[in-house]
């Protein structure tokens, strides 16, 4: 049975008072995240082939939608070119699409400041634009 006393925290309190505070003044100064941090999704439109695996594996419904970005003639047939559109407001940053992309077109950036007043700014349709 340890001794019971009052104010056992006083010593540590005084010590802490002269240490550097832990608080980070976040919006001022640069945010620190680790190298592996999973932030906003980014796509390399050049590498994307429109295979659609990302849309299948994504665990969050309607985050990745395949849209027809254009038409392409192969011989005498006309094929649709499909490209993903990312509704990042639904994205949960799990990175499953990054894991499963065979072409290395996707990556998660360190950007986590996604707050916005306009939801539409979080729709990423880079891949469709380049296909046109």
């Amino acid at each position: 049975m340890p001794r019971r006393k009052i104010g056992g925290a006083l010593g540590e309190m005084m010590r802490t008072a002269f240490q550097r505070p832990i608080t980070k003044r976040y919006p001022f100064g640069s945010p620190e995240v680790s190298n592996r941090f999973r932030g906003k999704l980014d796509i390399d439109p050049v590498k994307c082939t429109g295979c659609g695996i990302c849309a299948i594996v994504c665990p969050s419904p309607s985050t990745i939608e395949m849209v027809v970005a254009g038409k392409r003639r192969v011989g005498d047939r006309e094929l649709e070119i499909q490209r993903p559109v990312f509704n990042l407001f639904n994205c949960i940053s799990c990175g499953q699409c990054v894991d499963d992309c065979k072409f290395g077109a996707l990556r998660l950036t360190k950007n986590f400041e996604l707050a916005t007043t306009d939801k539409n700014t979080l729709i990423m349709s880079k891949a469709t634009e380049i296909a046109k």
Partner: protein, 323 residues
């Protein structure tokens, strides 16, 4: 002194306005010091080092919509906060600040002071009771129970210096401390007074009537807007008030080595000593506050009745012999 001069002194300096500023400063210091002791930085936004934060909070609250619960007793609910504020504001007039004598003084100061302390607790209880919330009612019960605990040791602790000085006025008590501060003669009384002050101010470990994790905001739960701003300001003012009483009764008030000079320079020194002592007492209170956990109401009452009251009585007995 003319009545007008007294009025100016009582309302502006060193009276109400001055002490309200000190009250804001106290809150800022409390928050900042507690934050640093806990490894945080505390308020930083309003003013340099966030020093204006309490003022900003006060005005923000005062500008908010005020809500009155359906079953509230309107008379007490509306006028209570002002009366509650009046208690420490009035009491502070009797404390010597810029010289060995206070703005108003009377041979029976101390008794009036006891009345004001009791009135303050009564107003808190009435405010809680008038708002008719469930949490407020429970808190009022706790408040009154706690009051029965700390009131007696507090009175005894306050009477001890009076016995030592042989006077019931603050001026007399302060004057009697020219050579020895009473903290040296009655250290236990001082400690008892601090503990009772913690209970009166509802600071941990005795913040039982306003324990936020149990009964939300205690007896203040139903208050909002201006009333809440007043109540909060009053609590800070009470903090200054009790610290000032402790300074006057045990630490020699504004007395200290005064260089010879004209009256203004002298009063400046008195003020300086008073403020140093005031903040020292205030710091003691918030260091204790930061280092302890909250106790339960039954434990608090037991502590006051079985430990603090006998101790203060003992010290009173010693004081009677010393005298």
């Amino acid at each position: 002194m003319t009545t007008a001069a007294i009025l100016v002194e009582a309302l502006i300096f060193p009276g109400l306005t001055f002490f309200v500023c000190i009250a804001f400063l106290f809150e800022w210091l409390e928050r900042k010091t507690a934050a640093r002791m806990q490894g945080r930085i505390g308020p930083v936004v309003a003013g340099r080092f966030g020093i204006l934060q309490p003022v900003a909070d006060f005005f923000k609250l005062a500008s908010k919509e005020e809500m009155v619960p359906l079953y509230a007793d309107r008379l007490v609910f509306d006028f209570g906060p002002q009366l509650f504020f009046a208690a420490p504001a009035m009491g502070l007039v009797f404390v010597p600040v810029t010289g060995p004598s206070s703005i108003l003084s009377d041979p029976l100061d101390l008794l009036f002071m006891l009345f004001i302390l009791a009135f303050s607790a009564l107003m808190a209880a009435l405010l809680g009771y008038s708002s008719a919330g469930r949490y407020s009612i429970i808190a009022t019960g706790r408040l009154v129970l706690q009051y029965t605990g700390y009131e007696i040791p507090m009175i005894i602790a306050m009477v001890t210096p009076a016995v030592l000085a042989g006077s019931l006025s603050f001026d007399g008590i302060v004057a009697a401390q020219g050579t020895y501060w009473f903290i040296l003669l009655a250290p236990i009384s001082f400690a008892c007074f601090l503990v009772a002050a913690l209970a009166e101010l509802e600071k941990p470990p005795f913040d039982i009537p306003s324990a936020k994790t149990e009964i939300v905001a205690g007896w203040m739960t139903e208050f909002s807007g201006r009333a809440l701003a007043y109540v909060k300001l009053t609590k800070n003012l009470s903090y200054v008030f009790l610290s000032a009483i402790a300074v006057a009764l045990f630490l020699g008030g504004p007395l200290g080595p005064v260089l010879s000079g004209n009256a203004t320079v002298q009063s400046f020194f008195y003020l300086l000593y008073f403020l140093i002592k005031l903040f020292a007492v205030g710091f003691c209170i918030f260091a204790i506050r930061t280092a302890l956990a909250r106790v339960r109401i039954d434990q608090a009452t037991r502590l006051f009745w079985t430990v603090i009251t006998p101790l203060s009585l003992l010290q009173l007995g010693v004081a009677l012999i010393l005298r």
